[in-house]
Symmetry: C2
Subunit: 147 residues, 2 copies
DNA sequence: ATCCATGCAAAGTGTTTGCAGGTGG
DNA sequence: CCACCTGCAAACACTTTGCATGGAT
């Protein structure tokens, strides 16, 4: 019964946003939500294809960005963003704008001293810690609706 | 005199790594280190081109990855890594392997409650915080020298 | 003199877009 | 039934690679 209510919740989110819940989208959503790694579009594409052999990669991309818009998944980099380099070797932290992708630095000694919890010890050897706040940057807040 | 010693320090790092400090590399390094934004390869390419009109984009790429290897800059995504999606809507944090790029989740209520310092308030409206530990994951530690 | 690095061009990869036909609400 | 969505293919953008020349130690 939990399954049912989860699907219903999805349906409601879709309905509220005024987008159609096609069976491609539902399949992509299901395959996506059941993962606990951090899959690329390609990885999701492969698992969706097992259930829906005719689905296309571009539909997976479009659907993932849709889910990102709806807040059901979180993209780990803003759309169309390419690799960037951090040129500041001293310890600092980031504020990332979820709309324009701009990354700003700030410093806070409290954060520099954060120690990895036990859970991390088993994952690997932590050499560096960085705190990331995400939200709308000042300049994107000023133009609320514009693209 | 500080300028001089900084350049000397670079020269020493290069020498110690057994790579040549060509004037292309020095120019790229200088243009890179003087930025405090988070430039893409293309952005660095444009500023280097002002001083060195014949430099090619692929040299900039190769040099940036070299600087990353030397620890002089930090790439904000592992090499060849494409966009990934976080499918877990609940609050959690990341351990990122700097070699293979694998992202693992862990939870820690202490981190969920971190408040943005004043410096962040002026940058934008923080909606979410995520702590990221970086280092070698357990499986990469086991194969220390491998490709 | 030798090896490494560069520039060029082409290939490669991941991602987006235009369009015609199909489908959900 | 109409607008939205899909699949296909082509376009696109960013990044990497092969190779021959040039340059540094």
């Amino acid at each position: 019964m939990n399954n049912l209510s989860v699907t219903e919740k999805f349906a409601e989110v879709f309905h509220h946003a005024g987008v159609k819940l096609t069976h491609q989208r539902l399949t992509i959503l299901e395959e996506t939500m059941e993962r606990r790694d951090h899959p690329s579009a390609e990885m999701i594409f492969r698992s969706v294809r097992n259930r829906l052999p005719t689905v296309s990669l571009d539909t997976v991309y479009r659907t993932l960005w849709l889910l990102d818009d709806l807040g059901l998944v979180a993209a780990l980099a803003p759309e169309q963003e390419r690799i960037r380099f951090d040129t500041d070797p001293s310890p600092h932290h980031h504020f990332v704008c979820t709309r324009c992708g701009d990354i700003s630095d700030f410093t806070d000694p409290r954060f520099d001293r954060l120690q990895p919890p036990e859970a991390v010890e088993s994952l690997g050897k932590a050499e560096r810690v960085q705190v990331e706040f995400r939200g709308l940057c000042a300049s994107c807040q000023k133009k609320p609706v514009s693209q």
